[in-house]
Amino acid sequence: MLSLGSVGAKSTKPSFVSYVTPEEIKLEKEPPKKLKHPDLLPGEVEFCSANPILKYTQDDLSQRGVFGTLFCTNFRITFISDEKSQEETTKTFKNKLYGENDIPLMFVDHIYGVYDEKRKLITGALVKNKYPSKIIIHCKDLRVFQFCLTYTKEEDAKKIFQGIAHHCLEEKSLKCVFAFSYTGTPSPEMQRKRETILFDSPEDWTQEMKRTKANCRLVTENENFELSQRLPKYFVIPSALGDLFSYQGKGFPIWCWSHYSGCALFKASLPPVTQEDGDFQKHFDIMINAVAHNYLYSAKTEDLSESLPTIQDIQQSYNKFKQFFLIENSTDFWLSDMKWFSSLESSGWLDIIRQCLQKAVEVVECLEKDNTNVLITEEEGTDLCCVISSLVQIMLDPYYRTLMGFQSLVQKEWVAGCHAFLDRCNHLHQKDKECYSPVFLLFLECVWQLVQQHSPAFQFSETYLTVLSDSVHMPVFSTFLFNSAHHRESVLKHQRQLSLPSTAFKTPFKKGFFKDETDSLKKMLRVKRLSRWMGSPDSTAAISREFYESWQQRPLDYHGLLLPCLDGPAVRVWMQRYLRWIPEVHILGGGSVAVMTKLMELLSQVQDLKRVLEQRDSSQAAKPDHRPYIQHRLLSFGSSGRLPSSFPFAYSRNRSFKPIIPTGLMQCLMLTDSLASQEDEASSFVSLV
């Protein structure tokens, strides 16, 4: 490894020339090494490679480079260092499917090219003859990679650059997604643990209705998607609702969950809009009546597209927000440290999280306190409806706070519930950005806030949520790959032929995002419906504040109702997800990992003791114990080294224990205040000379 000294504060734009001189390269290059190849996953095919490529690392507070080979396959971009890797230490940190230098193609968010010190965003079409001296890759899991191409032969450099740009940025068809090439079989332990309910059979739904004592009707008429391709294969509706075929597959309440009192939560897409005002209103009345009939004849409805940000707002906010974490060097880090809090606030992301949680609390209050049925509506009924209904269920139903329960909920509301993952995650890099929006991530963010505030109420940890948020873009799994149940079935049915009619991939539902003439009509209609909403925003906030406070005064029951605190300091940044790759913030031997390690150590100690005692008890009966010993990754790391706070994601090579000293401090606190120039002891300064 070439140590290139600390660049840090001095130059704002570290250039390549300052890192390594060509003489050093030659020394480094001999004797020529044989090319190492990546371990390919079953079904993975190598497209192209280039050597030598310099990869920048930011460890140990100095910018360094590592030489190696860059590969592009149908699954990932991968870098293999010429140096020996520290297998032992990195093992604990290794993701099962990709390593620290692997970038699955679907993880790529943006690629920048540096041409003559100028940075340009690479779009697929732009790539023809020129190639940049350096490529910077921003990933969806917020990693930043920087590769230097100047030491590579021109044709190799061109080839790898074009290969990467093509496979990452060009709009592609679904069949090119690695999941369809992947031939690996699930490991035995993956097969054994199939306790997650997938909600792809009538039995799953019947079971769920039984569990929540719901008094609703299972609809099987859409088994072959005859009602609508946008509806789940199976779903549940209020018993009072009659013939479904007149609805054109839209605008009728779908059951989400039943409260123990008997009232229930329903979600609905808005009824089809016709030119006749009366039709819409009539339609809507039928819908509410059906919902109200469910229990004590009471219902409240809430149009989420009225009270929550649009999915475009969500996307814009997140785009701003994530920029603060895509840090390329130390200088950027400390510069952005100064205005950190106001930067976060300006993105509005935390506020959107707060609004969603707030809305969920309002719905919870209706169900829990007022015992009324609630119907939440939205244009399609598969975005914010999913967020709010899932959050409500997590707050009210402790089953969904278990790992299997949570996964079942994601299946129920999101996967079987037809959230358009393919469009929202923009897996296929479609240029038409209208439909892209991190709605599912927003949901995970909200769940994280709850986990953060009430960790003992959840069976899973924040690490689980972080990994789940990455898995959305992991093309090995098909869970988050489709737009609807119909989409999934039609694609998977043809999987072997892989020659799908192109219409199947066309996003069937983009209507909601177009501003067309019906928009103004809808606006008009909504005004009339306002009387049915839960009340003006001011009063709901005050009322739900009261609801929260009365809940807070009762002793906390982790198996009962769970509400989030939404005060300013309580809604926080998901540090683990967003800061895990930034070496400046890693605390070696600190963070919550340090406490968890202690807890795991003690737990395994207690379990060992228990085992010993049990063996003594049963020694007369001579019953051998076959249960496996607890082997935890935290423990396997041992007490030899301290874990960084970024565990288990980034492995910090900062072994020298040098502190990180902030740079550019004075700039952050230029106080023009007269106080600043005052002396400490203004009253009596006695000069003794």
Binding site: D567, H586, S592, L599, L602, L609, P659, D680, L688
Partner: protein
């Protein structure tokens, strides 16, 4: 009506007493109602009073709770505290405010002046309760810190450093302690000459000695350079002696102030060590602002958390207070000091007078370098030494028994230091033997005047007022029940230097201190993880005991080497497991 504003983040609003003839329907209530009320008042008499505490006033009042509505109740004022308990409603409302904590009493409601009450409060403030307290504890906290003992622990005196008693009657410097450690080669005459060139005679003296590389942390006040740029050969030579002691090539002088302020100080006779005069030294400014800036910053912080916590603009409001930015500067200054010392170079730290920013920097860097100070005892020693001993002006900065609320001398420098310590404990949850509760208790009693620990400005004043004999030390109380303050996750690592990350990404507002009075902020007495950990500890000890009993009954000699440790940190788990598995 009067508003009682409380120092620290605990404002209280109380109304003036309601006279019995008041038109309030409740006050003129019929007899059955009244009798019920008087019954309810009975428990008030049971307020556990501290030994030496005496009741001064008790009256019916209405307390205007900033979070709920007005609450009717009864107020007690003793020579130590203001105590309020509501008499109606199901929800109990109590207030227990030590008088020392009250920073300002304000009259509200114009003409119907009921000022006598607030006036009474102010007078009471002056009778520092600590002198009347007759609390008894097993241990005398005044003995926690013995200067000689602490220097010996550090490895001083030795061939490079000597102890001098030149200040035993506070003749050299009245704000320094009696025992000082100075370079071996510096004579007492040298010290006297150096004193003439240092503000308030606070000469550079040793604070901490690195056992391995013999680098030291020295603390002092600014040199009296003045406008003319005066030089002092003795001071220059003295600093060179410090440098020579461990062969440091270049002595680093950390001036805590921003460069501009240090320059401005020349106008009033102060200044900094110039390059030409101190050739073997390099000067680094740490850009920490003065006491006035810090005071205003905390005031702004109070404004955004009281009475309601800002919701949607919380982060930008927080940023506008600059409080966390100041914390960042103090911490990063201390990191630089610790890093320099740990790399083998000696350092000198000063600000203007060397009792505010200097104390923050030396004590924080010592906390980073020396794991002893991270223990419950060690932390007490650190405070006694660097803050109380070296004359942080607690009386002036807090304003004990002082009626001038707007006093320019007041500043939350010590609060800021404790906040920095809290930030470190958050980043390293297993590195400190003490918990957050200790830090809160220290700050509570910084204001409460129940203990003598934080009274007066310096050791000489404490001695002449006989504080040790007449008051109880806070450490007597703390050390009489240490289990309250122990962090169960503590893992001692003696040689480890602790560098916190001084980035806004990690610094957070100490909600459980600054906003703890707000009922909406969740208060978990104990974090659930901590609770779980303690349960597991109990379970482990039960199993160990059971196993030991079984092995005793077996009377197998091979099993005798099983160690039963009841303390969480006595052995690493790996050792435990191997010990336990061998017999089977």
């Amino acid at each position: 009506m009067s508003l009682v504003e409380v120092e620290e983040a605990n404002p209280v609003m109380a109304s003036a007493p309601i006279a019995p003839y008041n038109s309030s329907p409740l006050g003129n209530s019929s007899s059955p109602n009244a009798s019920r009320e008087s019954l309810k008042m009975e428990p008030l008499a049971d307020v556990a009073m501290l030994p030496g505490e005496e009741r001064v006033i008790d009256k019916d009042i209405i307390y205007i709770c900033p979070f709920n509505a007005a609450v009717k109740g009864k107020v007690f004022i003793t020579n130590y505290r203001l105590y309020f308990k509501n008499t109606d409603s199901e929800m109990p409302v109590t207030l227990d405010v030590p008088l020392g904590v009250i920073s300002r009493v304000e009259k509200m409601g114009g003409a119907s002046s009921r000022g006598e009450n607030s006036y009474g409060l102010e007078i009471t403030c002056k009778q520092l309760f600590a002198f009347l307290s007759q609390e008894k504890y097993e241990e005398n906290g005044w003995n926690v810190y013995e200067a000689m003992e602490e220097y010996r622990r550090q490895g001083v005196p030795n061939s490079e450093w000597r102890v001098t008693f030149i200040n035993k009657n506070y003749e050299l410097c009245d704000t320094y302690p009696t025992i000082l450690v100075v370079p071996y080669k510096a004579t007492d005459e040298d010290l006297k000459r150096v004193a003439t060139f240092r503000s308030r005679c606070r000469i550079p003296v040793l604070s901490w000695f690195h056992k391995e590389n013999h680098a030291v942390i020295m603390r002092c006040s600014q040199p009296l350079v003045g406008m003319s740029g005066k030089r002092n050969k003795d001071d220059e030579r003295y600093l060179d002696l410090i440098r020579e002691a461990n062969g440091t090539t270049k002595l680093t002088i950390y001036d805590a102030r921003p460069n501009v302020n240090a320059v401005a100080n020349k106008a009033t006779g102060g200044g900094y060590e110039g390059d030409d005069a101190y050739q073997n030294a390099e000067l680094v400014f740490l850009d920490i602002h003065n006491i006035h800036v810090m005071r205003e910053s905390l005031k702004k912080l109070k404004d955004i958390v009281y009475p309601n916590v800002e919701e949607s603009h919380w982060l930008s409001s927080l940023e506008s207070t600059h409080w966390l930015e100041h914390i960042k500067l103090v911490l990063s200054g201390a990191i630089q000091v610790a890093d320099k010392v740990s790399s083998g170079s000696s350092v000198v730290v000063h600000c203007s007078d060397g009792w505010d920013r200097t104390a923050q920097l030396t004590s924080l860097s010592m906390l980073m370098l020396d794991s002893y100070y991270r223990t419950l005892r060690g932390f007490q020693v650190l405070l006694e030494k660097e803050w109380i001993g070296f004359g942080h002006k607690f009386a002036s900065r807090i304003g004990h028994g002082d009626k001038n609320h707007a006093d320019q001398d007041r500043s939350p420098i010590f609060v800021q230091f404790i906040d920095c310590v809290w930030q470190m404990t958050k980043q390293f949850p297993t590195a400190f033997e003490f918990n957050e509760r200790l830090l809160v208790v220290i700050l509570d009693h910084l204001y409460s005047c129940r203990f003598g620990t934080f009274l007066y400005n310096c050791e000489s004043a404490r001695e002449s007022n006989n504080v040790r004999a007449k008051t109880v030390s806070l450490w007597s109380s703390v050390n009489s029940d240490t289990s309250l303050y122990i962090n169960p996750f503590y893992t001692p690592e003696s040689s480890r230097v602790l560098y916190p990350v001084a980035s806004m990404r990690h610094l957070e507002l100490w909600v459980t201190y600054y906003i703890r009075w707000n009922p909406r902020i969740q208060h978990q007495q104990q974090s659930p993880v901590e609770q779980r950990y303690k349960e597991l500890l109990v379970l482990r000890d039960q199993y160990l005991k059971k196993l030991e009993e079984l092995q005793l009954s077996d009377s197998t000699p091979s099993s005798t080497h099983l160690t039963n440790s009841s303390t969480p940190n006595a052995a690493t788990p790996n050792q435990h497991i191997t010990h336990l598995q061998t017999p089977f």
